[in-house]
């Protein structure tokens, strides 16, 4: 399959890549980065996004970059294609690709690389397509830019590419405009565009966040096939399952630094840096409904340290005065402690004064931690439904002039304190359903009632006073921020005090909200475009919390968050439900997250609800073939990871629990 994809387009690429794959020891790395740092100049002083990153990647290999949200992963990736940004200052001791020194690149050399030699999937799938051009033209652009294929061939190729990335009705989709596509479709279009010219290096920044398990598996297969064909893949992901499945090597970033690096198996199973340990521990597991919990309301992650010391020292249980005073260098992993279980699990570097003290192959915690109640599970009929959606139908017109049902007869009820999950195929109408519930779209048929009163049928004027009761976290948070607004104003507006500068009281409240979602004051004055993907998502969540709503409609609220932050956010949702009786309509592709957060779940396909019921029931005993397929795909991914890469998300306990959290 991948052979077709690249064959004939960049033959020499494949050859060279294959050669590299044959003798990885002889050939130098395809990509080598040493001491890369990136600084942004903002109106409120410089932001040091990347502070000395080292990376190396060989053809035919996959390097995964994981790390804290906002740790500089995306910035690093953008820098590798020379697009750090207008206000960025980039420095590096070495920046080599295919033997050439990228530091000397002029705009022209960069251009020759981009798209042709380096394919790049940006994190912002939802706003990365030109809204005024057809999707097909966008996908074909690398081919056009680099003069590959003529116009007619390109059109045919676009359909192939879209099919490869799992887009049904590819020809039709190619003729649509981005705003007519669902998030997952846009993301796949973006991937198709990045691989169109068969580049020997593919950088994929969170490429599967908006994809359901089945499609995700398909896309990962595609990436794996590209890798097996000799292309190098730089994968940025917070999804450790994905990382575990794909990566040969993993680099862990924290606060602009690579804190640990090494072969995937070793790193996943025997993490050496306290942050890595924490990260792995926080991973949600589909198998277990609840993660080992720090589910205590008000517990949030401390921000990285500002000073000269180790940035993780603020959270680290092992931190001592040296950690706080002096930044540890990146050193080869000491071979202390008990010998590895198998020889492969060695190697790598770590940036920690205490690296040797971490017990290798730390204790696996097999569900020893008490399972926290998944929020109050209100029994049917006990409370009046807060949201009552009946037979909702929404149609859109497609380019072939036919009407298509995005939502087709969906009904559900949501009671106070309840969490209803919505899972389903990408493009199955989840976002549309969310829009119908929040009243941003009017249903073509059916009604939504809020607390017994007309909602979808009410006029906007009638809805407005009740708007604060229903809040939403949109799938594309960036789009939902006024480009002129700072974070302070964005959140401030939701407080009903939209002044340019908030009054002290408001500002305190805003800061508090941001803290709850794990952001510190440094983002207050930044605009949406200056935030990392995960930061945006959390700002959107903070905004949704601001008016103290009764219902929150969350459309992929944690898709861009690394697992540790994700855990914090999920805890937050749980406490909202438990303490305040907030109801959640929770859309996610991550079945683990759904399982953790929700009581009940709707499974959607083609606009219809194909299965509905208690989370446990549906996930443990799926009835509908689609649900079964979905779960099978998940299991397959996990199994793959488990077998070939020997990774099962592990719970690692550090000496001196509670691990890595501090009370704020």
């Amino acid at each position: 399959m991948t052979g077709q994809t690249t064959g004939g387009i960049a033959g020499d690429t494949t050859d060279r890549a294959a050669g590299a794959a044959d003798g990885p020891a002889d050939a130098g790395p395809l990509l080598s980065v040493r001491d890369l740092s990136v600084e942004f100049d903002t109106r409120h002083g410089p932001v040091r996004a990347v502070r000395g990153v080292d990376l190396a990647l060989r053809s035919g290999q996959c390097l995964a970059v994981v790390g804290e949200s906002g740790s500089g992963k995306s910035v690093t990736a953008r820098t590798l294609v020379g697009l750090a940004g207008r206000n960025a200052t980039v420095r590096a001791a070495e920046l080599g690709f295919e033997g050439a020194d990228l530091r000397r690149n002029g705009e022209q050399q960069w251009r020759r690389l981009r798209g042709a030699r380096i394919g790049f999937v940006l994190q912002d799938a939802l706003s990365s397509l030109d809204p005024l051009r057809r999707v097909g033209d966008e996908i074909a652009e690398p081919l056009a830019v680099h003069g590959l294929l003529n116009r007619r061939e390109r059109t045919a190729r676009v359909v192939d590419l879209l099919t490869d990335v799992g887009v049904p009705e590819a020809a039709l989709r190619a003729r649509q405009y981005p705003h007519e596509l669902s998030g997952g479709l846009r993301q796949r279009a973006l991937i198709a565009s990045a691989i169109a010219a068969g580049p020997p290096l593919l950088i994929a920044d969170e490429p599967t966040t908006a994809l359901d398990a089945t499609v995700q598996a398909q896309v990962l297969d595609l990436l794996a096939a590209r890798r097996d064909d000799g292309a190098a893949v730089l994968l940025i992901s917070h999804d450790l399952t994905v990382v575990g499945r794909m990566a040969d090597h993993i680099a862990v970033m924290y606060a602009g630094l690579v804190v640990e690096e090494g072969p995937a198996e070793r790193l996943l199973n025997r993490p050496s840096h306290p942050y890595t340990v924490d990260l792995l521990a926080a991973a949600p597991s589909f198998d277990r409904a609840a993660r080992p919990s720090r589910r205590t309301a008000g517990l949030v992650l401390a921000p990285p340290a500002d000073g000269p010391g180790c940035p993780y020292s603020t959270r680290c249980a092992l931190a001592d005065s040296r950690c706080r005073a002096e930044l540890p260098p990146l050193l080869p992993l000491p071979r202390k402690g008990p010998p590895p279980v198998d020889g492969a699990e060695t190697g790598g570097t770590v940036r920690c004064w205490h690296a040797g003290e971490i017990p290798a192959g730390a204790t696996r915690d097999d569900g020893a931690v008490a399972e926290a109640a998944p929020g109050p599970s209100p029994s049917e009929g006990q409370a009046e439904p807060l949201i009552d959606a009946r037979e909702l139908v929404k149609r859109f017109r497609s380019p072939d002039r036919t009407w298509r049902h995005a939502v087709d007869g969906v009904s559900f009820r949501l009671r106070p304190g309840e969490a209803l999950g919505v899972v389903g195929e990408s493009g199955s109408g989840k976002t549309t359903l969310a829009h119908l519930v929040t009243g941003m779209l009017a249903p073509d048929e059916g009604t939504v009632r809020l607390d017994g009163e007309a909602w979808s049928e009410a006029t906007e004027r009638e809805r407005r006073p009740r708007r604060s009761r229903v809040q939403t976290v949109q799938q594309n948070p960036l789009e939902s921020f006024d480009p002129r607004f700072s974070v302070e104003r964005i959140v401030g507006e939701a407080l009903g005090r939209p002044g340019r500068r908030a009054a002290a009281a408001e500002r305190r409240r805003i800061t508090e909200l941001l803290h709850r979602v794990g952001l510190d004051g440094s983002v207050l004055q930044r605009r949406g475009a200056e935030l990392s993907g995960g930061q945006r998502q959390r700002v959107a969540i903070a905004r949704a919390l601001a008016p103290e709503p009764e219902v929150i409609v969350c459309d992929e609220p944690v898709s861009a968050l690394d697992v540790s932050v994700q855990a914090q956010i999920l805890d937050l949702f749980a406490s909202l439900r438990g303490d305040l009786g907030v109801a959640l309509l929770f859309i996610s592709h991550d079945l683990g997250v759904i399982r953790e957060v929700c009581d009940r779940v709707l499974v959607m396909k083609d606009g219809k609800v194909v299965e509905e019921g208690d989370v446990a029931r549906v996930f443990d005993a799926p009835r509908h073939p689609y649900t079964q397929a979905l779960l099978a795909a998940l299991t397959r991914t996990a199994a793959l990871a488990g077998s070939s890469r020997a990774y099962v998300p592990a719970r690692v306990a550090l000496p001196g629990e509670p691990s890595g959290t501090e009370l704020l």
Partner: protein, 293 residues
């Protein structure tokens, strides 16, 4: 050392310290902004109190007509021996009033007009846009004639007349921009926050619609000053001999062969004013948008 290229993408520097770029850029910008503000201040002063700078704009001295700039007459004299400098200074009031007044009025009326059309439902939209078409189709001078016929000739009415003929242009631009902006995610987001419609419009729609209007306004100020003069010529405004930049400029045409300075100084006055308003306006706009200058 090109850590940053103009194309918006960033090159990569070797491990060498890179000077702060925007700091430098800011330093480059400052004097321009200062000069522009200073000039505008002078113009405003001249408009309020011209006698501060020069007196007797209408004192004729036919014997010394059309003298080029000299120590005695810094800007030279015109066809009747009047001091060009005094006339330029005294011309500021009418010119600025007409240029700024008409533009501001057209801006305001046009923006409201366009907003109403794009936000007020289909019937209103059709109605308002057809009216705009009719207005646009009427030759500007005819329009002005009508307005002045109704209101009587005066500087203020010139401004109104020009504004009337300009506002449909503003209305159309506003309308289209609004149509795009009102579908933007952030507008929906604000709506779903329960922000009042008026606040959504004032906070999100209007500010995002404004920038092209600002540009349109800046560029209109100059043309208003000129149009104002041709209306004066038609007898629809301040009459000669009261000085006014636009008519000074058009009168100078007759003396092209004899004395260039006659056209040069009022011309410079107009252009400088427009450019300075452009510079200061842009700064304000950028601040307002929270963008990097």
């Amino acid at each position: 050392m090109t850590a940053v290229t103009d194309t918006g993408s960033s090159g990569v520097a070797p491990s060498v310290a890179v000077p702060h770029r925007s700091g430098a850029a800011r330093r480059v910008l400052r004097p321009g902004l200062l000069l522009a503000s200073a000039y505008l201040l002078l113009v405003v002063l001249a408009a309020i109190h011209p006698d501060l700078f020069a007196a007797h704009p209408n004192a004729t001295d036919p014997v010394n007509a059309l003298q080029g700039p000299s120590g005695h007459h810094v800007f030279g004299t015109d066809q009747l021996g009047r001091d060009t400098f005094a006339r330029v200074v005294h011309g500021a009031r009418t010119s600025v009033a007409v240029g700024l007044g008409a533009t501001a009025l057209a801006f305001g009326v046009g923006a409201v007009w366009g907003l109403l059309a794009s936000l007020g439902g289909r019937v209103l939209d059709e109605l308002l846009m057809r009216i705009a078409d009719i207005f646009l189709a009427m030759p500007g001078t005819l329009m002005a004639l009508l307005v002045v016929a109704v209101l009587g000739p005066s500087g203020r009415n010139i401004a109104i007349a020009i504004a009337v003929s300009l506002s449909p242009g503003f209305a159309r631009v506003t309308r289209v921009q609004t149509l795009v902006v009102k579908e933007a995610g952030y507008v929906r987001a604000a709506t779903s926050l329960g922000v009042r419609r008026r606040s959504v419009i004032m906070r999100h729609v209007v500010p995002n619609v404004l920038p092209p209007l600002f540009v349109l306004a800046t560029m209109n100020i100059g043309s208003c000053m000129i149009v104002g003069s041709s209306l004066s010529f038609l007898g629809l405004g301040p009459q000669p001999p009261s000085p006014e930049w636009g008519s000074m400029l058009s009168q100078a045409r007759e003396y092209l062969q004899a004395d260039w300075s006659l056209a040069v100084f009022p011309g410079i006055a107009i252009t400088l004013t427009v450019i300075c308003i452009g510079v200061v306006g842009r700064e304000i706009q950028v601040r307002f948008e929270g963008r990097r200058p």
